[in-house]
């Protein structure tokens, strides 16, 4: 069981209190209604599933209930960092490849 640092509660809490909410930084277009098929497909379906560094969303569902973002290594399961929802994606010079439709 992992220990996860909640950036809102500002402490490490057991994984039991959290729920993984999938990949982070998938931007819902402001004018989503008129998005092209390609961009909408990328937003809706295309995920990185990297071996290595992943930017992902977590929710401290049995704690403060806040959503936040984390950088985790999918091989070692180690958290590199956590940061609040809405904060810019930190540049880590990592091995995450950019794909169309997301920023």
């Amino acid at each position: 069981m992992l220990l996860i640092h909640c950036p809102y509660c500002e402490e490490e809490r057991p994984e039991l209190e959290f729920r993984n909410m999938g990949e982070a930084h998938l931007v819902r277009a402001p004018d989503i209604a008129n998005q092209s098929d390609e961009d909408f497909e990328a937003f809706l379906y295309i995920r990185q599933n990297p071996k290595g560094t992943i930017y992902e969303r977590w929710r401290h569902v049995h704690g403060c209930a806040r959503f936040f973002n984390a950088v985790r290594n999918t091989v070692s399961d180690k958290f590199v960092m956590v940061y609040k929802a809405g904060e810019k994606r930190p540049a880590l010079g990592g091995d995450v490849k950019e794909k169309g439709g997301r920023k």
Partner: protein, 984 residues
């Protein structure tokens, strides 16, 4: 007397403290402090079981949890019986009952031993090759017979009456292993002020000091020092000491799972005591001091009872005062076996010879052997052990060939060296490195904050061992330690063992021989992982603690590769078997899963409700009267709602309070509908989609104030809808000033539905006018109900004049009872979820999750009207425009009428256009809801059918196993099509 092999003056047990136990029905005597194994050995019993595959007689091999052979069925009573308990771990208690396993009719006379004679048929991989033909035989003959013959002991047939405890703990330093290294590290850490947990698998601390008689620490015999050290540690406030506790799993971020045996050694356990305790320890630092495990020598017939590890023999002698035989042969490639032989000789046993595979042996050992009169044959190997139920001889031959010498013996101790116990380090994902010179794997690079010290780190030198343990603990203490140092060790088969049909076992528990490994390599298994699976080497309950290195060495030799190139199989938790009781722990019976009950649960039960499980909820299903069948009760409830009125517990519906200046704006995003124009005091049916455009949830939303909405969700959807809303509020639209609160359990919801509903509640309502004009369908108003604050809704899921009375949960039962007492004389009856389902289906109201399945759009469900046309955005707006979602021919929700009105379709049944087509038929849809409707006096059904709305009036077919049912596509509203009743 506690056994003929107990040697007066030897060991640490008290001769007067005798215990009685039975083994295969025979009553025997042991001593307090014995394990079952030591007590059996004291009575001269080596034969303790039959092997898994060949049913060969087997005896005790080890003295610890690595024991592969001596697995027993231990029983306290008919219910408390446990298979596969290692006799070397089971502490003796008065009245213990042990039975050997895998033999019939008896241990000495076992029919299954014919497998041994037929063993050429059972070579490695035989399962994969043998039971292939004829095709039908696997299922009917082979599998049932193999299953019947498989397994060792017998699982208990009744539920476990004991309870198991669970504890979470945190510490600065977790020390695993209570031997010389572990105790040194724990003392060091404790004295520097750290919060320490020290764990030892045994009941007694000391590890190797229990048998290694040559070590002194600070001038004291090692064992005595260990007892002083543990007493000192126990007295310290910052130290927790756990004995009989196995650290069996090492998980992420220094989380270690421990299993503590609490009553397994107690003759009459206190019924209130837990049997075992599962610990989940989070340590800042883990010190692994798990020691090492001796390997056996691999030679022909090396599994005869009486052939055992040298360290084990020394353990039984020096700790339990038990000699494992009277004439004991020694076969070794390691110095350690010499000291065992010397200890045994000095205790009065006869050592006919020490057979040493090595050419060069330290002079000191040879001199000591000579002075004790023990013959040593170097560069010799044992080529065969004789005897059947007990070893009776060993045959030795020079490694380079020559005459065979035969020795008469009644026990044979062997040592191929010691394997560092790196299991937990490896589980922590640390990398192992191969020490070429010593032929062992030792810890390399760490993955977590842990330190291996002592034998598990490959450190044999005692001064270095203590120094690294003290350093790991963070202290500076100096311990003066003296003792012997040992050299030697080998892995693999010993010379003389070749591919002749001999059985030189490497894995005793799974009956894997050296020959099997070679066969696997010849048949193309070149990775150790494949060799393991093909031969099952290391796959028994002992996970190859003795056999893995041997298997690896033989595979490497056969492949002509170095050991590291062949690789190592992964070490996995648990290190030793853990009972289901401990893992399941409190999560059984009522604590398995939460049960949610509504405020009206008790009163519904008194009214005779039969409950059904809906998620975690218990919901009243129907209310049968005396003598009524379910069908009769449901029919009566349905008719009564439409004739008089029904009382329904709707408390389980999800409820979310959406409040704040931007509440309407927020709902505009979350629902397809528009909320701007919904007036205060009005309600609207809302549909929620996912981004992909499919229906996610639905429910009625009431506007309580300009900035406050009362949102309802489906019963099952409440948590996910809440999460979905929070997600959008927190991450996509954080600027909206809205607050969400789950209020599902705050409100008791009592639905009163039917033409007489108004009369049923009228006397209780104060503060408002509930006439149709003042309070029409789809209205909501706050009022007092029986003097209790209430949100009164005018709404219906039955298609009738209906009210839903929302009162604070604690008042629910009183309000329900009052309405019922008042209404019953006018025909008010409670109804359950079954009637509720039928009533809504009569009206064509969908249930999300039953009539939709995650691939249904609002258009498919006939709910296009609920999608606002002019909104620039809502969740799902883009998804709805996807090509496939607007294509023609999609499955649409329609009604179905069976041609025979008495026939009720099966939910889930498939629908075809024509019954006269070859199988597999083209399926064009399926039945989603189907009931007998007493109000319509016929069966009714809803279905998703391709292009359904274009097919009105068409005849379709529902093929069933025994017949084909003719149906007609129709509108999904079966009752009161005009909808006049809801506005009454």
């Amino acid at each position: 007397m506690s056994g003929a092999y107990r040697i007066p003056g030897k060991g640490r047990l008290t001769p007067a403290k005798t215990l009685r136990f039975t083994f295969d029905g025979e009553t025997l005597t042991g001593l307090e402090g014995d394990t079952l194994a030591s007590a059996l050995l004291a009575n001269g019993i080596h034969l303790t079981g039959r092997s898994f595959k060949y049913h060969r007689p087997r005896g005790i091999v080890a003295a610890g949890p690595e024991e592969p052979n001596a697995l027993m069925q231990i029983s306290r009573d008919a219910v408390r019986t446990q298979p596969n308990v290692r006799a070397t771990v089971q502490e003796l208690y008065d009245g213990l009952t042990a039975k050997s396993q895998n033999r019939w009719p008896s241990l000495t006379m076992d029919i299954g031993a014919v497998n041994n004679l037929a063993s050429p048929l059972f070579a490695a991989g035989f399962y994969y090759k043998t039971f292939m033909w004829p095709k039908f035989a696997w299922k009917r003959i082979y599998e049932p017979n193999i299953r019947a013959a498989a397994g060792l002991g017998h699982a208990p047939t009744e539920a476990d009456p004991d309870h198991y405890a669970n504890r979470f703990a945190h510490c600065d330093v977790l020390v695993i292993g209570g031997g010389l290294a572990g105790l040194s590290a724990a003392l060091s850490a404790a004295e520097s002020g750290a919060d320490v947990i020290l764990v030892e698998q045994n009941s007694v601390f000391g590890g190797a000091l229990l048998y290694e008689s040559g070590i002194t620490v600070d001038g004291k015999p090692g064992y005595d020092w260990a007892q002083d050290a543990i007493a000192k540690l126990k007295a310290m406030a910052n130290v927790r000491v756990l004995s009989r506790t196995m650290a069996f799993g090492y998980y992420a971020q220094n989380m270690v799972a421990l299993n503590e045996l609490i009553t397994e050694h107690v003759a009459r356990p206190d019924a209130s005591s837990p049997r075992e305790r599962l610990w989940q320890v989070r340590a800042k630092k883990v010190i692994l001091a798990t020691g090492s495990i001796e390997r056996h020598m691999v030679f022909a017939e090396n599994d005869r009872p009486g052939v055992m590890l040298s360290g084990a023999a020394r353990h039984y002698l020096n700790h339990h005062g038990v000699a494992v035989g009277r004439k004991i042969g020694v076969y070794t490639a390691h110095d350690g076996a010499y000291t065992a032989a010397f200890d045994l000789e000095r205790a009065g046993c006869d050592i006919p010879a020490i057979i040493d595979l090595r050419k060069d042996v330290a002079d000191a050992l040879l001199d000591e052997a000579k002075s004790l009169g023990i013959e040593v044959l170097t560069a010799y190997s044992v080529v065969k052990a004789g005897g059947r139920l007990r070893v009776s001889s060993m045959e030795a031959r020079p490694v380079n060939g020559g005459a065979v010498r035969k020795f008469s013996i009644d026990a044979l101790i062997t040592s191929a060296g010691w394997t560092p116990t790196v299991h937990l380090f490896s589980q922590s994902r640390g990398k192992l490195i191969f020490d070429e010179q010593r032929g062992i794997f030792v810890p390399g690079e760490n993955a977590q904050y842990c330190v291996s010290v002592g034998a598990c780190n490959g450190t044999d030198d005692l001064e270095r061992l203590v120094a690294e343990a003290v350093a790991a603990g963070g202290g500076k203490a100096k311990l003066k330690v003296k003792g012997p140092s040992y050299a030697g060790g080998m892995s693999g088969a010993s010379p003389g063992e070749d591919d002749k049909p001999v059985k030189a076992f490497i894995d005793f528990q799974n009956d894997v021989t050296a020959k099997d490994i070679r066969l696997a390599v010849r048949e193309g298994m070149h990775s150790i992982v494949h060799v393991k699976r093909f031969t099952t080497n290391g796959m028994a309950t002992d996970q190859g603690k003795l056999s893995n290195m041997h298997g690896l060495a033989i595979a490497a030799e056969t492949l002509g590769k170095a050991i590291p190139q062949v690789g190592l199989t992964t070490f996995r938790a648990p290190y030793t078997p853990v009972t289901f009781g401990s893992i399941v722990n409190h999560a059984k019976g009522q604590l398995f899963d939460p049960t949610r009950r509504t405020p009206m649960h008790e009163t519904s039960a008194k009214m005779g409700a039969v409950f059904e499980d809906v998620g975690h909820w218990k919901r009243a299903w129907y209310f049968p009267r005396a003598g009524e069948t379910m069908h009769e009760a449901v029919d009566r409830e349905c008719v009564n709602v439409r004739t008089n009125a029904g009382l329904f517990d709707a408390s389980t519906l999800g409820k979310i309070e959406v409040a704040g200046p931007d509440a309407a704006k927020f709902l505009n995003i979350l629902y397809t509908n528009s909320w701007d124009k919904l007036g205060v005091g009005k309600c609207r049916y809302g549909i929620m989609l996912r981004e992909d455009g499919f229906v996610y949830d639905d429910g009625v939303v009431g506007r309580i104030a300009e900035d406050r909405f009362h949102v309802t969700t489906t019963t099952g959807g409440a948590p996910r809808v809440m999460s979905h809303m929070e997600d959008y509020l927190q991450t996509e639209f954080p600027d909206l000033n809205v607050w969400l609160t789950s209020t599902t359990e705050q409100w008791a919801v009592i639905a009163v539905q039917g033409p007489k509903a108004r009369e049923m509640i009228a006397p209780f309502v104060t503060g408002m006018d509930i006439s149709n004009e003042a309070f029409p369908h789809m209205s909501v108003k706050e009022c007092q109900f029986m003097g209790v604050p209430c949100r009164l809704f005018r709404m219906t899921f039955a298609g009738e004049l209906g009210f839903e009375v929302n009162v604070p949960a604690d008042y629910g039962q009183a309000v329900w009872d009052a309405i019922y007492v008042h209404g019953a004389p006018m025909g008010l009856q409670p109804y359950g979820t079954e009637a509720m389902h039928i009533l809504r289906a009569e009206k064509g109201y969908i249930i999300v999750g039953q009539d939709t399945d995650g691939t249904v759009t609002p258009q498919d469900a006939g709910l296009a009207w609920a999608i606002a046309k002019s909104k620039p955005d809502f969740v799902g707006i883009r998804g709805l425009k996807r090509v496939d979602l607007v294509a023609s021919g999609r499955k649409q929700l329609v009604g179905l009428k069976t041609k025979d009105p008495k026939t009720v379709l099966e939910e889930g049944a498939q629908i075809v256009e024509s019954p006269n087509q070859p199988i597999p038929m083209k399926m064009i849809g399926h039945v989603t809801s189907s009931y007998w409707s007493a109000n319509c006096d016929r069966s009714i059904a809803m279905a998703l059918v391709a292009g359904g709305r274009e097919r009105m009036g068409q005849t379709l077919y529902v093929p069933m196993p025994d017949r084909t049912i003719e149906v007609e596509v129709c509108d999904a509203v079966f009752f009161d099509k005009e909808g006049g009743r809801i506005n009454a």
